[in-house]
Amino acid sequence: MSTTAVHEAPAEGALTREELLKIHDLMLRSRLLEERLIRMQKQGDGYFWIGGPGEEAFNVPLGLLVHKGEGLDFDYLHLHYRSSATMLAMGADPVDSMRQMKNTASDPYSGGRNFVNHFSIKKWNVVPVSSPIEVQFSMAPGTALAQKRHGGRGITIVQGGDAGTAEADFATCLIWCSRPQQELPLLMIVTNNQWGISTPANTQHGERNIADRGKAFGIKTAVIDGNDPEKAYAGIKEAMDYVRNERKPFVLEANVSRLYGHSSSSGANFITEETDCLVRFEQKIEQAGLITRDKIDALKKRLTEEFLEASKKVREEPQPDGSVAFKDIFAEAPQNKANPRTNGGH
């Protein structure tokens, strides 16, 4: 079948059939995971939900394009609380998200201390996601500076929402990544869903595009459709390649949707008015003959059951005991090198 044929020999730069199906699989997993997490919260298996349903078409390609690993040769990720699809695309275990939702002792990201989708994965350079908006943009120049000095192809990726760009940190990042002769390999990403909780972007932001703020600093910028995974993949790849090769910053803005509202505090109900990137993409690959509706439905069914079962198991996992509150406050100090003759001065 011709469309298939096209996809067996994809056009220059286009994604292969396998890649497109992989992306769909990850988008679907991410969506179903978030929907499971929302259920868990509504059933009382967790106190609060916030996450990324509606951003899969952008976040999955991002995760696939990350150069994953630990240390300066790999990409550093300063993400926010809507990045679950990026994490799954990188290979994170969905069960761990359920553990953080249920704040079990087994939650690998925060040990039951933090809200769901507040990732922290040292072996992949994923620095702790923090609740305060935008502070990641003040830290990102640090990892990028270390990488600039180190050389190689590792870059720093920092991501946040649209409303958050009004915080100081976004401007700090623009300034620190564009210092003359000190430009940093830093990819600044704004996932623009046109909302800050209940506040529409167009009531607070005079910028035509938020990315335009990079221009005064001579930073390259682009605005892409984050609801189309192929466009997103291409846009992210182009920006990343530039940052990797030129060792210079780039501001990438992507339009995305917020499909379940802001968080469980606003009800976490499906918003029919917003574009659903998953539905859109499934229609496309179905029409292109890459997959049948039956296959999609079967996959959906299997994953839904898989996640439900996992959530039941997680529910039984032990909670951290009180002593955990006092663990990890300080890292072990190195053994004291002090010279007894003078240490303490007496």
């Binding site: 908006i133 958050g164 009004a166 209940s198 506040t199 607070q204």
Partner: protein, 352 residues
Amino acid sequence: MSTMVQAIRMALHVGESRMGVTDIFGEDVGAPLGGVFTATQGLKTAWNSPLDERGIVGTAMGLALAGQRPVCEIQFCDYAFNTIDLLKLAGAMNWSSNGQYHLPMVLMTPVGSGIHGSLYHSHSFDATATHIPGWKIVMPCTPLDAYGLMLSAIADPNPVMFLAPKALLRQKSAPGEEIPGEPEERVLTKKIDAPLGDRSKWTPEWPDTPDLLIPIGEAKTVRRGRDVTCVAYGRMVAICKKAADELAQEGIEVEVIDLRSLYPYDWKALKESISRTNRVMFVNEDTEITNFGEHLVRRTVEELFYELHAPPKLLAGANTPGIGLADNLELVSVPQKSGISQGLRDLAKHQA
């Protein structure tokens, strides 16, 4: 029986309709949401701001410099820590301008734990706030006090911080503590709570409530007792009161004082009580090192050392980087009734 959040809303309505409040603003403060806790629904001067706490505090300062009367909100006090420099500047404005520029602004922000808020929806702000000179600081624990202290905050020509215990915002007033003029519960809700769904055509019907200003600097004794004085504020007051009521069954009579104003605070009331009971415990949620309760302990030993029949006690939050989400983590990080009871019992039983 209004809730605290309704009481704040009614006070803000009085502020904007009779006391010259010009702006009530912050993140999600305006329509349609009217605040993440609904404290600002239906107010005619309420508006939404950019997501920028520094801009919120700075703009409030500018409005006050220009003779306006702003009430600004920081959505959670957890997010006010990038504005401390501006808060210090606001507190210094009258002094550094040789008395030329008053700064009549109110900053309101929800504080404290008790809603499973994890690291960044559980912070206390009392230690930080009381260390900033030039601010008055109030922290009510009942709807009526919230109403009266908000009116006093608005009337004050100085910057006033209004710390709202977030876990109490939806609690109803006790019988007899209604705001004069407030209608029966269901009626009030119908009149001033925004409806679900489309709100574009909704306008509130404000009940006629009086100018009941509760003076800044006056504590309130919520329970009389001869054996031990327990000084608390915010969410801790009711817990201390409950512990005290239970201890009465053991024959221990605890006097519970709600400080209400953290600065200036009612030393006269504390002194009178401590001199009578000769034993005192201070309770608050903030982390225990360089804590406002330690100031009260210091003042106590400075002035009342020889009145004390037992070492003064402080029960405060654990010195951890945050309050963890899991119940067990919050329970060991914030004073609980059991610990409060034990502390009060030990004090009462203590033999000098």
